[in-house]
């Protein structure tokens, strides 16, 4: 018995590619001053977003993105069959608290910063498998909730490492449908854990780069495509160091990723915004994909994109115990 939609080792090819019929992004003020500011649906003036704690603020961003995505898809919440969501906070409270207002079956996901693409891959499988007409997938992250959970209190006077990244404050939500107008999800390559022993938890790009490269390579092998089949190959949040490492790993294996490969962590901020290596967080690949990439696809500038969500699956406790940082990357091919 072989599953008819599987190709190669890790890839599934959708028979009726699910369509992204709705997408929305809500970001914080710093992201709203970044190079992609014209692509977001809503820019909050204050990272507190009228809430009294950072955690509440994060799920306010999430609730808003979900509401906008469903509206833009011309649906109501009741039309949805599943809500797939995740974020970075302990026990993914932002996603779950957002799900209180989404009265449909909910599956919480944790793939660290790869969650947007984990949700997209699973959502597409649900739709193409005939288990759902409409699936909502969403993520959020917040600089201040991530900082205090993974690193230091925000007002702590520390000099950040040059390899450190800045967690994107914001949320992104996508609506997948069996039919409709819009970019289609044609393939998904679910990644496997790759851990090359990086223990520096201020250098997430280096921890995730081997996983990202592994999934890119596997996707190309499984589909028989060359890198230049895609107008753009975009990883989630490897930022400056991870991006360069992926290129170096590719070069070693004879793959040319010098022309059409970029990273959401490089696109989301301008280097002048004092973010060191670049952006990170669930919302990094989330808002760049749902904002910039899909809008450019709808405008016809890109026809075929391979997007990857990249995640560093460590916890503050595992890092303090000296464990290395396991990396993961999920790839989704989006085509017109």
């Amino acid at each position: 018995m072989t599953a008819p939609k599987r190709i190669g080792k890790q890839t599934v090819a959708f028979a009726n590619p699910p369509v992204i019929i709705g997408r929305a992004t809500v970001v914080g003020p710093k992201e709203g001053k970044g190079p992609l500011k014209d692509y977001y649906d809503l820019i909050a003036e204050d990272p507190y977003f009228n809430a009294d704690t950072w955690e509440k603020a994060e799920y306010k961003f999430f609730e808003k993105a979900v509401q906008l995505a469903v509206e833009k898809a011309n649906l109501t919440m009741d039309d949805l069959n599943y809500f797939l969501a995740g974020d970075l906070t302990n026990q993914i409270i932002s996603a779950t608290f957002t799900a209180r207002g989404v009265p449909v079956p909910y599956l919480g996901l944790y793939g660290a910063c790869s969650t947007m693409y984990e949700g997209l891959a699973l959502g597409a499988m649900l739709v193409d498998g005939g288990f759902a007409d409409y699936v909502l997938a969403g993520v959020s992250s917040h600089y201040s909730t991530a900082e205090r959970q993974f690193r230091f209190p925000t007002e702590q006077g520390v000099q950040r490492n040059l390899s450190s990244q800045w967690t994107v404050t914001g949320s992104a939500a996508l609506v997948l449908a069996a039919q409709g107008q819009g970019p289609k999800v044609t393939h998904a390559t679910v990644g496997k854990i790759v851990d090359l022993g990086v223990t520096d938890n201020t250098d997430m790009g280096a921890a995730m780069a081997p996983a990202a490269f592994d999934t890119i390579k596997q996707h190309l092998e499984d589909t028989g495509r060359e890198p230049d089949y895609y107008d753009l190959i975009v990883t989630g949040d490897l930022a400056r160091i991870g991006h360069r490492l992926v290129q170096a790993l590719a070069e070693k294996q004879g793959l040319d990723l010098s022309k059409n490969y970029t990273d959401c962590g490089l696109l989301v901020y301008d280097p002048s915004q004092d973010v060191h290596a670049g952006g990170s967080g669930c919302a990094c690949s989330g808002v760049v994909t749902a904002g910039f990439l899909l809008q450019e696809m709808e405008a016809g500038r890109y026809q075929r994109i391979l997007g990857l969500g990249t995640g560093a699956l460590h916890s503050p406790i595992s890092s303090q115990q000296g464990e290395s940082v396991p990396g993961i990357a999920h790839a989704v091919a989006i085509e017109l």
């Binding site: 209190p153 007002e155 702590q156 006077g157 090359l196 022993g197 990086v198 081997p210 004092d274």
Partner: protein, 160 residues
């Protein structure tokens, strides 16, 4: 005598270790170098300025008629207040970005390390948030400070 299976297993482990080392060497090559000279200059300028302010306050207290002992304690209290105030106003973390050790080592940095978590964890309440998380960063400094002072005290007592 090594079993053939075990040998294969060992080869696999060795290969994995080699792969890890090879990758980590690549990371080292690509990672940006820490700008040591720039950091030293930043630390010197800001750390020096903080100490200068402390010295002016100390001299002021002495000129005002305080004994040297009282003036030292009062100066520390004023510097702690200034460090806390700058943390609350959101200035200290920005200063530290430039200053590094220059703003961590003086007593103002110690104040920052207590006030910053206190502000941050206030959202979890005054008991389990603010007051218990207040020493999140400063805790180790206090613990080792106490241990060292006990050891020094013993040495001082034993060697007259």
């Amino acid at each position: 005598m090594i079993e053939p299976n075990e040998l294969e297993h060992q080869i696999a482990i060795e290969r994995k270790l080699y792969e890890q080392k090879e990758y980590q060497d690549l990371v080292k090559k690509i990672k940006p170098k820490v700008p040591v000279l720039r950091n030293i200059i930043g630390a010197f300028l800001v750390g020096g300025t903080i100490c200068l302010i402390g010295q002016i306050i100390l001299d002021g207290f002495i000129a005002w008629g305080l004994t040297a002992r009282a003036a030292i304690g009062s100066t520390a209290a004023v510097m702690i207040f200034l460090g806390s105030l700058a943390t609350g106003l959101g200035i200290y973390d920005n200063l530290a970005k430039f200053a590094g050790a220059g703003s961590i080592v003086p007593i103002t940095g110690f104040a920052n390390s207590i006030v910053a978590p206190a502000l941050e964890f206030k959202s979890e309440g005054y008991v389990f948030g603010l007051s218990s998380k207040m020493f999140l960063v400063a805790g180790p400094v206090l613990t080792f400070g106490f241990i060292v002072s006990v050891i020094i005290g013993l040495i001082y007592y034993l060697i007259p």
